[in-house]
């Protein structure tokens, strides 16, 4: 989308109407929170300025990019990988996502909050992908973890109950889940980002969520079928 591919100056003659909140204000006042002023706009102003693809308001696009840049800077504060270049790139990606998803905006929050939320997801997805891009899902799931108890058993009977529940969980994991459910669930437990799991399994993030949700439901049903109550699980794992 060429309109956001660079930092074009605002087009002359465009009306810089206003308002960051959904408050219905009509004054056109640029606000100066940082180096670059951003014109305040109502939600309706944002939508009107950004949705007319034949004549998108370049100033609104530039302001949106600035809003996202500031939001990302605050959201990613303290993260070494999120330097100025990264934030600029993610703000740009965020603008593209916002522009392509305007129809998804519900209007129950400030448009800028919605945009920042989208940009934050874009940025975290990229940060996680960078950390995990060389990790094979198959190897991650196959690699057996170290077996070391996190809490010592209190006595023999509670240890027996604990072992029974652990055995039941492993049994359900092994027999009641599909290979893909097990693979996705274990990868999540080992910290692999959903976007990376989804990419390696050829799924969308939502489809992956459904897969692991089904897996958790199968586990829950399997434990119930084995006569193990939620209270017993809580007690066993000190939850």
């Amino acid at each position: 989308m060429a309109i956001v591919s660079g930092r074009r100056p605002p087009s002359p003659g465009l009306d810089l109407s206003d308002d960051a909140a959904a408050s219905g204000l009509t004054l056109a006042l640029p606000i100066f929170l940082g180096a670059n002023p951003v014109t305040e706009r109502t939600n309706e102003d944002w939508l009107r300025s950004l949705s007319e693809m034949a004549a998108v308001d370049d100033a609104a696009v530039a302001d949106l990019r600035e809003v996202l840049r500031r939001g990302l800077r605050r959201a990613l504060s303290g993260r070494a990988a999120a330097d100025d270049g990264f934030i600029e790139d993610m703000a740009q990606e965020g603008v593209l996502k916002v522009l392509s998803g305007l129809a998804m905006f519900r209007g129950d929050c400030r448009f800028t909050t919605w945009g920042i939320t989208i940009a934050v997801r874009v940025a975290f997805t990229e940060l996680r992908r960078a950390r995990w891009r060389d990790v094979s899902l198959d190897r991650l799931v196959e690699d057996a973890p170290a077996r070391c108890p996190t809490t010592p058993p209190a006595d023999g009977s509670s240890q027996d109950a604990r072992q029974a529940i652990l055995a039941a969980m492993h049994g359900v994991l092994d027999s009641d889940l599909t290979d893909r459910q097990r693979q996705a669930l274990v990868a999540e437990l080992r910290g692999m980002p959903q976007a990376e799991i989804a990419a390696q399994m050829g799924l969308t993030r939502n489809a992956l969520y459904k897969l692991t949700h089904d897996a958790r439901q199968n586990l829950k049903r399997g434990l119930e079928a084995a006569g193990i109550s939620g209270d017993e699980v809580r007690s066993t794992f000190d939850l």
Binding site: C109, A144, K210, R216, G230, V233
Partner: protein
């Protein structure tokens, strides 16, 4: 394939929180901005939105993103 005690504990926590009517990450993204604004403003959260926000209990990634959004909102108005 076997799970470590910590992995089993986390799995048990997820299983206990599992509900048949959970929403997924994409659906949560639609609710997140409104929820973030209410939490940032310390305003009451309507029950349907509160239930949607239970997604954060079973999705560490959406929870991490939500905390970041909240940081962005609560810092709004500060110097950039």
């Amino acid at each position: 394939m076997s799970l470590s005690p910590d992995e089993l504990r986390e799995l048990a926590r997820y299983v206990l929180l599992t509900r048949p009517d959970e929403i997924g990450c994409d659906d949560w993204l639609g609710h997140a901005p409104r929820y973030a604004e209410l939490v940032a403003a310390r305003e009451p959260v309507p029950e349907p939105l509160r239930r949607a926000a239970e997604h954060l209990d079973v999705c560490p990634e959406c929870a991490e993103e939500f905390r970041a959004c909240l940081a962005a909102l609560t810092a709004e108005g500060g110097s950039d």
